[in-house]
Symmetry: D2
Subunit: 357 residues, 4 copies
């Protein structure tokens, strides 16, 4: 059985590059030869043992690659095509998919859903930080890359662009809205770009790292708030003349950002939460207007599927949102352990790394 290189979760604290067999595929699958992939903040949660996955699993959920082989029941693609697949790979045939919740995809024959069941790569099946990856339900998930776009241009589509934009979409951003984004990591920066794309007229970014505040401005933030320079809630209320914001996007996953995001909402406003939390949350009574504020709290998991990817690549192609500045570092797959070291320690202003086998 031919072998390949893959970044494998060994135990909390250890993701290592090792050899594994090249995946075999079933009738609905495709085998991709990875040409570019990346590391996500979620992978760092896995590395640290904060998000549990099976030992021995290949990590990574952001594949750009070439179709190496197609399952026997797959039609409409050809070997050699360059494609991406979303981080979330819905089946297309589950009750969740047919109910409009494709990211919550579950087994196809029970009507029950499993939360986040659509996230499979590097979570419940082997992932993309490898020479090859098996893509399940290929006809739902393989999205051909237009020739004139480079791997790096579309590398953000599978996860952070889809997730960040979903923050604005689920928030229901409308023309003329005021939007705040809490935490300007890659997801938060994409949320800024998404809010701008949807017509927000005032976008406020909250972080403390100068490089991130600068990128946020380049992507559409009208104001940036450094939470170390004073209470961010007060700063935002001052910036909005006491009105508060229409939509606040949480892009970190902590009590502090969640609570602040709630406190700056105008009555009738929406908190759009993207963060992956690791502990219980508290909703302060006053921040929630005792339940009388006509507010909404909405959570979004990254939307996947080939149509979503097609749309995101069309945004890239249009030049409306240029996320390539987020790729700050590049590594070969054989050096992925160095990439993890850099990325997990947030050294050297890293935002995203490109990994090429």
């Amino acid at each position: 059985m031919p072998k390949m290189k893959a970044a494998i979760f060994v135990e909390p604290g250890r993701i290592v590059l090792d050899e594994k067999p090249i995946p075999e595929i079933g009738p609905l699958d495709a085998l991709l030869r990875i040409t570019t992939t990346t590391i996500c903040g979620t992978d760092i949660h896995i590395l640290k043992g904060e998000y549990p996955v099976a030992r021995g699993l290949t990590i990574g959920h952001e594949p750009v690659g070439i179709i190496e082989k197609l399952g026997s029941a797959v039609t409409g693609y050809r070997e050699g095509q360059r494609v991406i697949a979303g981080a979330i790979t819905p089946s297309g045939h589950s009750y969740a998919c047919l109910c409009g919740c494709a990211s919550q995809d579950g087994p196809g024959t029970r009507h029950g859903f499993k939360a986040a069941g659509g996230w499979k790569f590097g979570n419940t099946i082997d992932g993309a930080q490898a020479d090859y990856v098996r893509v399940p339900d290929a006809m739902v998930n393989l999205s051909p890359v237009p020739d004139h776009l480079t791997d790096e241009q579309v590398l953000m589509c599978p996860d952070i662009m889809s997730t960040g934009f979903a923050g604005a979409e689920s928030g229901g951003v409308r023309i003329g809205d005021t939007v705040v984004v809490f935490a300007l990591g890659p997801i938060g920066l994409c949320a800024v770009a998404g809010a701008k794309l949807m017509g927000a007229s005032t976008i406020i970014g909250v972080d403390t790292v100068p490089e991130r505040l600068a990128v946020a401005k380049a992507l559409g933030a009208d104001h940036v708030v450094d939470f170390k320079q004073g209470d961010p809630v007060e700063q935002i209320m001052a910036l909005t003349d006491g009105r508060g914001v229409d939509v606040s996007i949480e892009a970190l996953g902590t009590q502090g950002t969640f609570e602040s995001a709630l406190r700056v909402l105008r009555p009738g406003g929406t908190l759009s939460s993207l963060g992956v939390y690791s502990s219980d949350l508290t909703i302060p009574l006053d921040a929630f207007s005792a339940g009388l504020g006509d507010n909404r709290i909405v959570t979004s998991l990254c939307p996947g599927g080939k149509e979503r990817m097609r749309r995101l690549m069309s945004v890239v192609a249009s030049g409306r949102a240029d996320l390539t500045p987020l790729v700050t570092h590049r590594f070969k797959l054989e050096d992925i352990e160095d990439a993890y070291d850099l990325f997990s320690h947030q050294r050297d202003g890293v935002l995203k790394v490109a990994i090429t086998p």
Copy 2:
């Protein structure tokens, strides 16, 4: 200055019937002579001092009455007309109103909103448990009662019917949904009726009082769950074959009901919260799927305004929802202190009382 009787908040623990001047009206107002009104659970919060209002305020926000006098700038009505006004009386001209958040109505000239600012009767201005009430912004709020409907038939429209239905509406109930309603007081019972009206095919009511469970069944609940007979979350998951519910409606305002409402949601489901909370809430990490469940938490304040009232009265007239069984007791205004005593102690199977001056 002519006098009238009014139920007045004196101090925590004391609402008494006393004399007050008949209200004077401004150019946009109307003066209503109350023919029927009622007591709301919120009034009990006020009585107990759990919700603060000014001492000396007339309580009550559910007026049925006759137009006694119209403000100088009011057109389109005539004295002697029988009307209702909603518990929430939006101005029609605030930024909140024009932004689609009429219940969050605030001062008309700042663009800022005040949470729940549309709730004025018995909160920020004198209320309806009196011989007369001043209705602000009369052209927005007075809704003529069709002749063939009795006062008692429309008595639920100003608050509990509007609020309860909003629970189903904000939850986005669709044909074929499974809906659970936590707590079957008047609001929860109306939420059951609202979920049925919107096409839910399975409605589960949760309470422990046998009379309430029985009324819930009459209004459309397919199943009732007595939370004293076992963990309601387990009972609901069993009833739904492990799937969970599409929409859960919280109609009490406690951590227990809120948390259970969250735990029974399917991924992608919506928690529609109607309760008035009196302490911070906790969102357990697992019940929230760590933020990855594509869930929504939505709060609704009672929608008001004459168009809402017109629609609700048309539902009453259609016979699609018969809420008159909720009026279990009747009192004269002069006996309203007895009515408060009965209602606040939930004696004698009381659901709603009708008060007639």
Copy 3:
């Protein structure tokens, strides 16, 4: 190759029962043994040559049956299960499906859609008026029937219930709406039931056949208008006190019903069109308020897929809508030509026929 009986389109004017091979299935398909099916108005269009299909095609798109055989890539079902499939059988993996337009399903690998491409049974592939039918994309389309529901109880789900309800859903019917349904054939009657399920407080049915007007009343129509007793537009405007309706549902497919449906709309109202038209339509300038009326015209093709079928069966199980009175006649498959004769001539008060192999 084993043979079966099937109702076959021979030429305009002739659908005959003949022998055909039992279908073979591919890896994603299932073979159903039909236990009950029916004839649709669309089949009569095919019979008359008004809607073109290939000669030799088996007609019919409303299958209730038993799984006889499963394709090699199909999981989650077992042979012998009783199931239904929708009239529309989306693939689950097309761009149309992933874009929220499953009924417009097209080839899976182009991003283009084909109008009504999801309608395959008895249109582009062999249909259900036969001993057996091949169901494409079985994991998307097979929906198990609860044991306690009879074939006839679920026979309306695949098409007329799904289509009729979609009329109300696409119209955006809200609690308290006034809705009119033009033409009370099986689809229109289901639209009445759908409007009631969604909370319309006034439903007006328009037809001229007394039996249909009576069934409409039983399903929720508050008023019926016989268009032979006077201009239906005038009658409806009188019934609504000059206001017009919030939603008008067109369920026939003619200029007359379309135009009347437009004329009775209030400003801001929605015309929800279900009819299959056979000629150009005219929008009169005045009926369209010269384009200034904030109106919507929405067309809906029957939604399919197993989740839709599950929901519709849950409505049947709840007793909220009892459509069994629509089955007025029963035939064996061997007598289907008689059934076509009865149904196409609308004799004997026929609404729907049940056909059993």
Copy 4:
């Protein structure tokens, strides 16, 4: 009674500048001293007698001005404030307003609506091409202009920006959509800007005037189609690789543009119509997919009210859409007849004129 200058409709073919009394105001009104206004295409329809208004009416519905006087019941403003009011001036208290159709505003006490009843200025009451204008329902309609914005910067807000953006909004433009705009007059150009603001990744503009095609490109069109260079439907289908568009916006009001807008829609797509039509429309059977295409036709009248104006001015302030290039010519009020002459004959590349008293 003091006099002022006003552009008055005398008879078809004649709008002349003449003297009129300065308007008197009622308790809910405000008197504005106009500082800048403009001429709209609709005014040309009036001039030509294609849209009937009363003889003697002052024309114009796009006011920028200074509050000269406030009605006795108006609070929250002060004389001397610089404000705009929308072309559409909803009352805030009609059933239409409270039903979410403010542009269809009608008398406040009947529940009936009148199509386009919210359009009052220069239609049913005296308009803004004058030294002074009376603004009805001032608290709903006066929107203060931020100091740092010039009159010309906000001159497009009352009508063409609000209308053009509504074309994109009612069309439901989503991130990654392909949108076409038919006819690139001022409204169509604003629709291009609106589609870009909402995240369309491909925008196609259709016209034949080179200057307009150039401005469309500057405002966000990725492609322009000159309908004189070949069938626009064919050109658009080629540009979209045969897929068609998600949203097509009609911004002229003719059969040709309407029909083309329908023909280029993908199944499931939306035709958003902004044009004011002057004759019946035909929907060709094939362009409508016989009613089976899950398509929508949506019409929008310009949204008004102070919150809408506030939002549009915030877009101007953000620099996200710069519409000042649309002001191609400037006139004094005393020369408005020359302005009408230029504008009605579309001479000299005119897009919009600024008129200053």
